[in-house]
Structure formats: structure tokens, C-alpha cells
Symmetry: D2
Subunit: 472 residues, 4 copies
């Protein structure tokens, strides 16, 4: 046996011991970080308004010795928390924004805490808390074992349509990082090779000329007509774009009073496709539909670009590494109380194909286009990024529902959160101790990227839409 080989085997054996120790330690820390997640669940702050949530996380990280940079990219609730120095630089991302209208108690039936209020229907309370949990655990291990390198927690606000990460990328916050670890609440456990959909969103505002709708409708130019013609045109567009595209919109202002020809109307639209360059072409055609609306109705169009995210670039090397570690961590086992909760929730689901019990397993990474969008997609095009999911939601529960909000506030969500934190910790341990893993991640990144140059579709002079959740 060569010395090198002996060394490696020893190192592996040491790391295995470290991992076991970390998993044990984390079991005792679970309650504490569970409490953090619950507090953020109760704060339920929407995008760019997550002041209390960000403050809580920053406080914990500061107390653990991380140095905090606040107000990243000019966003009050964006921050980084860094510990250590030198290479490699490993990032962990944490989100903490809630969703409007999804206020929900931690019970298995529809019951808002505050009627119409926001709620954590995407489990971002768990997301931020698990990443915090992982960051502090890794730091403790690095201190104890004198592991060189830099660890950075990314406090990334407004994932839900606000695009916080885009502005943090633009501000250079990801420039020196070697690998980023990312996770997301789900109804199953596993490393991810799934992509997400590239997305653009904008508000289309039509300005017309008011008139009394009974006395002189011919004197008015209806902003609502402009909007309707645009919307109708978009419907005709659907047949002539690739089937994998998605376009959806709501009318956020459809006129003020029936007796006045509307001089203002607003439509809020998302368009998505598995590929950003294809989306570019679709987006251009949507713009033409909007212009057609203005042209035909003799109204004026103003388009406010709201958000854009790339499709996620999966990383094969990191997915394999995460998969290995998650199998060490294992899935989520329910108590009889949790089982009862899960079964009650299940009655309310339309799609019941995923059985209860499946949350105990770890699934193999699967490739595919995905059907959601995330600003983590942009991160994946600037740095190798790992992505994993854990069963924070009862099997079959989709994100953005009251059911997911309920799970995110009770023990099932917190159990999934611990699985996530542990998986992040073990993966970071590999990355810090084996430079080959970081290199492999970079190689996977370059292979999939194939020379494509990332450029955010958000206009360069576009400021973070800090008030995008305010109603007009």
C-alpha cells in the first residue's frame, strides 16, 4: 500500500468520523434551529420586507462569529455572513420570504392565521433556518479541526418574484465563491439534476383617455381595451410557441369605475421556457402583442420589467456528491401524530399518487426541465451550484399551497429542515477536505455551460423592486 493511498484512506476514515460526529451534534441542535424556523414562519414577511427574519438570521450568525455585510446591492434585507479565509470559498444560500395570501395555521385544514395575510407556503422559513444551522455547524467543525477555507452564508431575499439574487450577483457578491450549496423544501428527499424554467416577468401598463362612458364613450380611449387586445393576442400566440413554454398573467388593474372609460389598466405577466435564449424570442413576441394592444386602442404602453431568472444549470458532480451524503443522512420518519396529520392533509389533495412513507427514502437525482422558476437559476450560471430537496411537506403536497404552509410551521417541516442541514454539512465537509470535488464541480459547470455567457435579462439600470409586493 503506497503512502499516498494510506494517507487517503486515513483521511477518508477521519472524515467519516467527523461526519458521524456532526450528525450526532446536529440532532441536539435541531430544536434550537427549529425554533428559528418557527419564528420566521410567524413573521411571515413578504419579499424585500423580511426585516425581522433577516435580523434574526444575522443575529445568530454574528453571535457565531461570522462577519456580516449588510445592505448588499442596496437591498435592506440582503446580506452575507462570512467566516474564515482562503480557499476554497464555499457558499450556502438561505431564503426567508413569505407569500401573500397564504397565511395558514399549523393545522391540517384550511385556516388562515390572518385572513388574506402572507404565509410560508414555500417553506422559506425552513430554508433560511436550515442553511443557518448548516453554516454554524460547519464553522464549528472548521474551528475544531482547523480546516482552512472560507464559509459564506448568503442571505438572499425576495426569491418569490423579487429576484434578490440577481442584484447580489450584479453587486459582485458571488465573484470569489467556488461552489454554492442550495436546497429547497419539497415533498421528497434527494439531490437534484432537475432544471427550472427561465422566466421573465413584467407589468404592462396602458394609459388611455378618460371619458364619461355613457355621455361620450367616443371621446375616450380605453386603457382596458389596450390590455384586453394584448391579452387576446397572447392567447393566439400560445399555439405558435414551443409546447414547453408557459405564459400566464393576471389583470392587476382593470379600470376604476364602470361609468368612466378607463384611462389606466395594468396586466402582470410571466413567461417561461426551459431555455433563456428561446424565452428571449417568446418575450419579444409578447412585447409585440402589448404594442398591438396600444396601437389598436390608441393608448400608450409602458412596460416595467419586474423580474427574470435563468433556468437552473444542473451540476452532475455536485449532484453525485450530495446524493452520496444524503443517503448517509436518510429521510424523514413520522411519529404517530405526524402520521395522522399527514393522512388528514392527504384527504385534501387532488393528486394522491405519491404515498405517505415515501418521505423516508432518498431518491436518486433525476434530470428534467422542471416546472418552477427561481433566482437560484442565475447563481447556477455564475458558479457551480448544488441543489437538493428534502421532505418538509407531506408527500403529494405541492409548494405554494396552504398545505405546504401548514407543514412548514410544524414538526414535519422541521424534520425535513434537519435532513437538509445535515446534507449541506456533510457535502461542505467533502468540499473543504477534497479539492478534487471542487474541481469536478467546476468541470461539470463548464461542460453544461458550453461557453454560454450569462447576462441577466433584467435591464442594467433596473433597481431591485423593493416595493413589488405593495399593492398600488
Amino acid at each position: 500500500m503506497s503512502k499516498v493511498l494510506l494517507f487517503l484512506l486515513t483521511a477518508l476514515s477521519v472524515l467519516a468520523d467527523d461526519k458521524s460526529a456532526a450528525l450526532k451534534t446536529m440532532d441536539s441542535g435541531a430544536v434550537r434551529y427549529g425554533d428559528v424556523s418557527r419564528k420566521i414562519w410567524e413573521f411571515a414577511e413578504v419579499g424585500y420586507k423580511e426585516t425581522k427574519s433577516a435580523d434574526l438570521l444575522k443575529g445568530e450568525l454574528r453571535a457565531a462569529g461570522f462577519s456580516i455585510v449588510e445592505n448588499v446591492a442596496g437591498i435592506p434585507t440582503a446580506f452575507t455572513a462570512t467566516w474564515g479565509q482562503g480557499k476554497p470559498v464555499i457558499g450556502i444560500m438561505g431564503e426567508y420570504d413569505a407569500l401573500p395570501g397564504l397565511s395558514q395555521a399549523d393545522v391540517p385544514e384550511r385556516k388562515p392565521v390572518i385572513a388574506g395575510g402572507p404565509g410560508h407556503g414555500c417553506g422559506h422559513n425552513l430554508l433560511g433556518a436550515a442553511s443557518l444551522f448548516a453554516a454554524v455547524t460547519i464553522k464549528d467543525w472548521m474551528v475544531e479541526k482547523k480546516i482552512p477555507g472560507t464559509l459564506r452564508f448568503y442571505g438572499t431575499p425576495a426569491e418569490e418574484g423579487g429576484g434578490g439574487k440577481l442584484y447580489m450577483i450584479r453587486a459582485g457578491a458571488f465573484k470569489d465563491v467556488d461552489t454554492v450549496l442550495s436546497w429547497h423544501p419539497a415533498d421528497h428527499n434527494g439531490a437534484s439534476l432537475t432544471s427550472s424554467l427561465a422566466i421573465n416577468s413584467a407589468k404592462f401598463r396602458f394609459y388611455g383617455k378618460p371619458a364619461h362612458a355613457a355621455m361620450a364613450p367616443e371621446a375616450g380611449r380605453s386603457a382596458l381595451d389596450g390590455l384586453m387586445i394584448m391579452a387576446n393576442s397572447v392567447e393566439f400566440l400560445r399555439e405558435h410557441i414551443p409546447s414547453s413554454s408557459r405564459i400566464h398573467y393576471v389583470i392587476t388593474n382593470g379600470g376604476s369605475a364602470p361609468n368612466i372609460v378607463p384611462d389606466y389598466a395594468e396586466l402582470f405577466l410571466y413567461a417561461r421556457h426551459p431555455s433563456m435564449p428561446v424565452l428571449d424570442g417568446i418575450w419579444e413576441r409578447i412585447m409585440k402583442c402589448a404594442q398591438a394592444g396600444a396601437l389598436a386602442s390608441e393608448t400608450r404602453l409602458e412596460t416595467e420589467f419586474i423580474d427574470s431568472s435563468y433556468n437552473t444549470l444542473p451540476n452532475d458532480a455536485l449532484a453525485a456528491l450530495v446524493d452520496k451524503n444524503m443517503r448517509m443522512v436518510g429521510g424523514v420518519t413520522y411519529t404517530s401524530g405526524e402520521q395522522a396529520f399527514a393522512e388528514t392533509i392527504r384527504q385534501t389533495l387532488t393528486d394522491k399518487t405519491k404515498p405517505i412513507g415515501s418521505q423516508e427514502a432518498v431518491e436518486a437525482p433525476k434530470e428534467g426541465p422542471g416546472s418552477a422558476s427561481t433566482d437560484a437559476g442565475d447563481v447556477s450560471w455564475v458558479v457551480p451550484m448544488a441543489e437538493l430537496g428534502t421532505a418538509t411537506f407531506v408527500p403529494g403536497v405541492p409548494a405554494h399551497t396552504w398545505q405546504s404552509a401548514a407543514c412548514a410551521g410544524m414538526s414535519i417541516g422541521r424534520k425535513g429542515m434537519v435532513v437538509a442541514a445535515k446534507s449541506l454539512v456533510l457535502t461542505a465537509m467533502d468540499l473543504y477536505t477534497d479539492p478534487k470535488q471542487v474541481e469536478a464541480a467546476k468541470a461539470s459547470f463548464e461542460k453544461r455551460r458550453a461557453g454560454f455567457e450569462y447576462r441577466s435579462r433584467v435591464p442594467a439600470d433596473h433597481k431591485p423592486p423593493l416595493n413589488y409586493r405593495d399593492s398600488k
Copy 2:
């Protein structure tokens, strides 16, 4: 000369004196009632919320000796104030509701007092105050001259789309009245033979099935689609209804978030026509458009009937009487300051055909379909009703504009208000002293009505929509 003739001539001469005296007395009361109008202008309370405005009017009438019936038809801001006894019973109607979004200072440029707040863009602050002024003056005259008969002030709330008068009619408040006097702020002076448009309004609510718009749009049934198909169908309807019809709508709820297939959407629609029976047919077809929207989109439709008013039935005898009296009263003369105000306002108008100066004249009553709608229309089908307008607004200023709201708060509005009050007083004097006039009014009423039986299109079990101005 026969005795009868002599008596009549004497009576006429006495009445002429009385009228002269009244006009003089009213000149001194003008400031006081102008103040009342200004207070209501400042209250700027929207339909069914006119608590302070109604209280102010009730207080004045109570102080003048009228007996007040509050909460008429179960409406907190509807009331009657009655004085005297026996026949004839003459009513005077007063409105006092403001319009949302029309907050405006008393200056000749666009300047809201409270941004987005309500304002008196239809001059109903003047309407209620002038009717009060007239009522108190008439009562004083009846007392002084021992004129027999009953005088009733109708405090009619929520004219602007709330239909207050419908419910007061339904509650029997107009059962014993012989003639009702009604006026409205305008940009010119004159008795009116103009009709108004019969109107129905309703909220069309579509209920679908939500789904994640990117993940499973095929699982959703879009309430917004239902609404859009309805709206598109209504546009196709326009060609195939009489040209004199009007249909106009706004979208009051067009979905909540683009990434969710909307499970709720709401459209608020008005339809109008010079004749209620013709409108009935148009309304039925609009219902079919709504049902088609629900059918094609597999959503559920709920229709809430909001309001309905009849076209106004002009009264030839009363118009002639009012015309005669208004010529005695005369129009509105501007001071140099008012002239400057008027000229500045005028710069902001699109239609400048009506010259400044025209407010000094009294115009002859004109027949025509009109282009607005009012719940006074319903009153005109149950009792002979006089209608007149006075130049409270600078010539060319349409109702429901910031310009009209500005005028209603300053001296030009108040001058018009005095012309109205005086015209009502002189006309009431004729009606109280000459039974022939009341009979002629009734004959005119029967002739135009031609046997048509009034029946409000508001469903019999429909309660006053006391919260129709609240946003959902």
C-alpha cells in the same frame, strides 16, 4: 269682471309679491346655506357612508321644526323631514354623496385634497344644501301665510350607483306625495324635459379552480378566462343592439398572482338604454355572454345585481312651471375673480363649445334621451317630478370631473345653488296655491306613462348595498 276672476287676479298679485319677498329673503340666507354646502363638500362622504352630511341636514331641518324619520328603508343615511299637514304633499329631494377618487381643492387646476380620496364631482353637496335652503324658506312662508299642505324633504343617499331612492320607494316613502321637486347641478340653467338612461348594473363573479400556472396549468380552470370570454362576447354584442345603448365595464378582480391560475375574477358592468323594456332585452343577452364565459371556461358564475334606475319620465306641465319661475330668478353672474377662475378652468377643457357668459341665461326646456342615469328616474315613474338644472359649474365643465368638484367647493357653485333653491321655492309656491298646477302635473305624468307599470328591476329581496363602495 267676475268675482272669481277678481279673486284670481288678486291671488296672483299676492303671490307675485310673496315671490319677490322670498327672493329677497333668500339673498340674505345665501351665505348660511352656502356654508352648509361647503361643509358637506369637505366631508366628501361616499354613498351610504354620508353620516356626517345627513346629520348636518337633519340637524338644520329639525331646528326648523320639521319632524324627522330616520333610517328609512333600513338605510342609516336615508331620512325624511316633514312639516305641515294635509294636501297637497310636495316633496323636495336632496342628495349628498360624493364620488371616489375625485378629491379636489377649490382651485382651477388638478389638485386633490387627499390623493385618491373622494370628492364632490357631481356637486351633491350643493344639491342637498339648496334643497334644505328651499325647504326652510317654503316652510317659513307657509307659516307666515298660513298656507295649508304638507312639505317633505327627502334625504336620498347613494345616488351615485347605490340606488338609495329605489329602496325609499319600495319602503313606501313616496306613497302619499303629490309632486316631487328635483334639481341637479349643471353648467347651465333651465327646467328639464330631458330624460335619463335606464340602467342596470351587476358584478359578474367567476369561480374557477386554482393550479400552479407553470407546473400544471391544465389542472386549473381559470376564472379570468371566464371573465375574458364574457367580456369579448359583450364586445361582439355591441354591433347588434340599438345604437342608443351603452355597455361599459371594468375588471375589479383579474386574478391574484400570475403564477396561480386565477380561481376568482370579477367584472363590474353597467348597461343603459333610453327605455327600460329595451334594456331588459339587452340585459338578458349580457347574461348569456356571462353564462357563455362560464360554460367555455368550465368555471362557475355568480351574478350580483347591484343597481338599477329607470329613465326619467319628463313632466311637461312641471317643466313649463319651473321654466316660468326660473326666468324670474335669472342665471349666474360672475365677479371678476370668478371670471378668472372660469377662464383658467376653461383652458383645461376638451370641449369648449359652451361659452363663458352662457351661465347668465336661462335655457328653454329641451327634450332628449340624455346620457346619464339617476335613481331620480324611478321617482319620476311613481309621482309627477319636476327637474331643473343650474349653472353651478363653469360652462363646458362636465359632471364627474375634478373641474366640477372644484366649482362645487367655491363661490360659483354656491351661486348656482342659490339659483336652484330660489327656483324650487317659487315653484312650490305655485303648487301650494294653485291646485290646477298639481292636477296638470298629474295629467302630464299619466300621459307620458301611458299605462306602463313601474317595477324596479332590483330583485325584491335585494337589500340596499350599504357597502357597495368598499373595496373587496
Copy 3:
């Protein structure tokens, strides 16, 4: 009694005798010209294809000594027939085109002669024949009485949407004429002060990119989508143009096969308004709707202007003159057979307000916007034009129906035709013998025209659409 006066009275008396004589003569010619009308009814040739009809008329006029100019404005079926010389120049217009799809036997029930074939649903067979009858009668009188002046028959093809008269005006055919006499079949008798609607029509052709609609719909650009978006936009336009406007269209090509994304689609549209300058504005907005369709669907738009007619400019002096003469001529009296025919036809009518019997009277000229369009409108803006209608159709029968086509082929139509011919003859007699009448006509013309400069909306380089009736 002055000599002048004596002369005038004598002249009047002479003229009265002449008129009586003419009426008598015409009664004997009625059968012959009725036969002409019946032949043209049987030819039933559509616009610009009226070869046999025009030949028949030309033959009659040539035989009567008129000199014929054929192929006016490059149109094979347009001609003029002139007799006499010097001033005044009086024109009589004759039309002879049939309508597609209105083939109908001369029976009071729906029964096409040729299924789907053309028919004289607007009675132009009578129109041309009556004008011929009048022209020959006038000429005979001028010969007999040595009346100086020029008489010209205008053979004007393709009135129904082909705009024959526009091109004849453009070619200078109306340059030297002093007054034009025009009539049209109707369901009543009377001189007309009614206007017609100004009209523009065009074919909107969209060119897309074909693709297999199942394999690669995203590769196609649908011409039909462009058309649909245009049409939808036009529907939204309806609310915001004056109520007196009319827009109507059909889809003349909506794609060839469902499995091919249509690369060609065509919409044929008419727009009308009582005023040409107002129509100009509406037309511009329809163009924008068409452009919006092309823009939103990424297709190419080609617009072919088809036709345009002005609203008719009524002539007060000529209407008074015609009215006077028509009262001398009288209306139409039915035989018992005709009465039975009329009653049977009447059963098939929706609107039965006009009673049988009303065709015996001559109605006073009425002012109004009218609801049809005619290229005679353009003539009325370049020369004083008289217009009258006679009861060729059973009272209540609208033009462009099988009922009118039936009447036009039987004795009722021919009786109305004789009334028309007589009215034209008497009016021409006045114009030839009294220069004041021509001057009055010119004065009326100038007063109504009020300086407006006629300019046809048909592009200057647009050739007569000789094949506009061919299906593609």
C-alpha cells in the same frame, strides 16, 4: 298685368299642358319600358358584369337618337348617352346591377330562380329602365317643343359596392352637367332630403408562414391569427366611435386546411358614418386594428381599398321641385291581384308598421342621416342632385331581400317605375324651361356644401375593381 308677368303665366300654362300631355303619353309607353325592366331583371347581372343590361339600354338610347360614349372610365359597362346641345345640361342616372345570392322568382314566397344566383334585390332593373323611359320622353318633348339644352343619360354600373360613379366622376363625365336627376326604388313615394352614409370598404389580407399545425405549429405564423386579432380589436373599437357609425365585415378567406397553419387570410370590411371627415378618423383607427393584428401575429398585412362613397348631400331646392311634381304624378294603386300579392308578402315581414295602402300617397321630403350608402353620394358633392323614391316594393319590404327582388320582377315594381319616370320627366321640364330652378339648385348645393372640397377616398391610382364580384 305686366307683360313679363303675362308671359310667365302663359309659359306656366303652356308647361302645365305639356306636363299633362307627357303623363298621358307615358301611360301608353309603360308596357314597353316595363318589358325592358323585366329583361334586365332576368339578366340579373352583378356589378361590372352588366353587359347585356347595358347593351339593352344603349340600344334603346341609340335608337332614340342619343349619341353614346362607351367604356367610360375604362369600364366596359359604363356609358353616357347624350342628346341636344347647349345649356342647361341635365343628367339622369340609371343603374342596372344585380346582387349576388338574391335570385328570386316573381312570386310572394322565397323561391330562387337559380339557387344561390344573383337577383335584383335592389330593383336596379327598374332604376335603369325608368331613367331610360324618362330620357326618351324628355327628348321627344324637347324635339317637339324645340327646347334648347342638353340631356344626358348616365349608365352607371356597379352601384352595389363597385363604385362605378366614382370612376365616371374621376373621368370627367360630370364636369359640364348642371343638375343630375336620380331616383331609387323604395316602398314609398317622395322626394328625398335624406342623406346616405359615407362608406369605405377594403379587403385586409394577412400573409403568414405555413407549417404543419400538429408537427410544428411554433414554426408557423398564422395569417388567420392576424385576422382574428384585427377583428377582435375592431369589436373593442365599437364602443369608442360615434354611435351613428357602422362597421361590418365578413371573413372571405379563413385558411385552407385545419392541419396547415394558414399563410393567407382575408377579411372584407365596410365602415360608414353620416360624415366623410368623421369616417376618415374611424377608418384610420380600423387601419391601426389591422396593423395591430399583423404586429401581434408576426404576419404581413396588405390592404386593398375596394370602394368609397360619400354621404349624399341633399338639395333643398330640387327636393321642393320634385315634391311638387310627384304630387302631380301620384302614387301606386294596386289591382286586386296585386293587393293579394302584397298581403302575402306582408306575412313574411318582421316589421309591419307601414300599412298597405300607404303606397298610394306621396310623402313629404324628410331630412335624416339614412342608413344605406350609394355612389350617387359622390355625384351629389360635385353637382346639384335631385333624389326621389317610388313605391316599387310593397310597403314594409326592405331593399336587398327576396321580397324586393320579387316585387322588382312583377307589376307592382313596374307601376312604381312609371311613377319614377313621370316624376323625372316633369322635373326635367321645369329645369329646362326655368333657369331660376337650376340656379336655386346650385345655391342649395353651395349652401349645404359650405366650402367642403370633394375628394374621393379611393386612391387616385386605384382602377375600377372590375372583378370585385368574382370569388377567389
Copy 4:
């Protein structure tokens, strides 16, 4: 070596010799059957009108000793030609209908033989001829080698939207058959595991009430409005059906004249999906859109079901067998003249990813949903069916184009035809001599069918639409 094994090996060796002999013989027959294909190409008869084409094929088969059953299912151009007796019964299908509008000379540039005329853009001239060629060759071999069993040629008309096979199935023509061999012209060679799309098609006819569109548009009920509302509704439907669906339509009658409110309009629509039961649900919703159009426009809807085909059920055993035999046959090699033709054609293609030269290879069977539809799909659900394609078209040339019509008329098409005929012959030889192959085909059929009961969506009382290609 056991006797059985020896026997088998001998049998295999004998069959191998037979196959070699057959391939050789067929090389000499190629010209003759190429001529047949060329004649049908020149006939270019559309669906259900293929009299001369069917007669030519029947004549050849009759001459070869087949017994003909004509007028199958009451369709003049449907027939079967049977030879032999007993089991197994092997069928070969032949189509011969052309496509409207695809007339094209056999030159590599767009050049119709008859402008607007039909042409063989789907290569069905080759289809019928190759199947004939195969049938006669197999029969000759069966005679020579005394092979027991029955051979049947199915003359299946109107594949292009007429659904000929549906009615032949319904008439029982496929009841006794064990396996059916089917092929189709393509731009490559290979056995097929690809499915096709299930399809329904119908004509939606709206009946309104005509009216003069300028005089009384309010009296009309527009059939075109009904159609437009339906079409618009279908556009809104697109978002909420599975992405793999296809809906496409054309407007086959959009009104007759702009000045008449259309009382008739017709839309011709196809809907497709990879699964018939899913298509059922989509179809039901399209019906609702149509009903909504009628409801909202107060018109009457009549739906004529035109055609329906199932998605093709691939057969794994038969695909493997065909694949093996095709590799023995090989692909298509071009002469230098054909190479030049191919390169010229290629210049005209949008998608040039498939290189020239690829037609020389035989591709492995690929699974997938496909993007076309065929009535062979129905056959595949009632009997095990083999499906293969050969390179009759230059690589990259799609079906239903002038390019494919050109290829189908010249030597490249005929070379592909020979590859097809040979592949059918070799496969039939296997099926006749090895009962295991027929059993395997049946087992594959039952496995994929999974108990699903075939039932055509064409209504039971629906007769073959023999005139579906006639324009109205």
C-alpha cells in the same frame, strides 16, 4: 444436433434463400410497379374520389389472381383483394389518395402541374404501388413454395382526413386478419415504434338571423359572432389542456357580404392528443366553447363530426421483425442526377439538420408520440400492425409539401417504394413460415393495449363523408 434443431436450421436456411431470391426478382419488377406509382401520381385523386387509382390497383390484383371485393363499407373506392386460404391471414394496406392544393411537377422547384390542383404530397401513390408490388411478389412465392395461408390487400381510400379505414373496420373487413403490414413514405428508412396522435375533427356551423348591417344591425344575430366567440374561447382553452395537445382550425365560411349580418358561418377544427381518452376530455371542452359561441350570440349551432383516428399502438415484436428484414434490404443510394436533385430541393428547406446520405442507412425503431395522425391508428387497435417508413423523400423533406410531391413523382420516390415493397415481402415470409412470430405480435398487441376496448369516436350512424373534399 437434434433433429428439431436441424430442421429449424434447414428451414431458416431455406427461408434465407427464398428471401435472397425474392429481393433479386423484385429488382427486375421495380420498373413496372414504379410505372403504377407514376400513373397514380398523375391521377392525383383526392379522398373518396380515387376511382382511377383504385381501378388500376384492382386491375393489377385481379390479373394476379386475387379475388376482389369492391365497394367495401359502401365506399366506391374501398376494396379488398384476397388470395389463398387458411391461417395465418396477413394483410397489407395500400393508400392512394392525393392532397388538395399540392399539384407539383417532378422538378426540384415549386411548379404546379395544375395551379391549385391536388397532388401526391404524402406519397400515397407510392404507398399503394409498393403494397401492390409486395402482395403480388408474396403471392408468387406462396404459389411456388406452396405456403399455406391467406394474403389480403386492403385498398384503403381517403386516409387524408376521410377516415376510410374506420368504415372498413366497422364493416368487419379486419375481423379475420392476424397481422397487418403497413408502411408510409418518409425521408428515412426504419421500422417504427412511433405512435401517432389521436385526432377528432368536426365542422361547427352557426346559424343566425340576417339583417342589413347598416340599417338594422340590431335586428340581426351574427353567425360569424358565434364562430368568433367560439374561436376566441378555444384560444383561451389552450393554456389549460396538456401541452402535448394540438387544436387547429380554419374558417371555411365567414359570411357572404359585409353589408349583411351573416346568418351562416362555419369553422373546421381538428383536435389531437397522444391518447384518445385524454382527447375525449379536450373534445368535450371544445364542444362547450362552441356552445358558448352560440349562447352568447343567440345563434344556433350544428356540429358535424367529420373524422376521428386513434393514436397508433406500436407493436414491439413486429417492429423488431421489420427492423431485422429492413437491414437485409438496405436503404436508398442516389445516382449523381438524384444527388443533384436532392441538393437543389435541400436549398428550399427550412430545417436542414438531416444530411443527404442518411437515406442510405436503416434507422433503429424509436419510441415517441409522433406528430401526425392516421386512420391506420384505428387498425392498430384492432389487429397487430407493423409499421415502417422508407426514404421516398429527400432527407429533411416533410410530408404535405410540394417537395414531397415532387419526390413522389420521380426516381427517388420510386427507389424508396422498392425498399418498402421488399421489406414487406421479407416480413410476410417470416410471418407465414413462423407461427411464433404471429403469436409474438399478438402478445405485444395485448400488452400495449392493456385491456383498452377500441371504439371509434365517429358516431355509429355516421356515413363515410364521401364528399368531404367538395367545397360548399
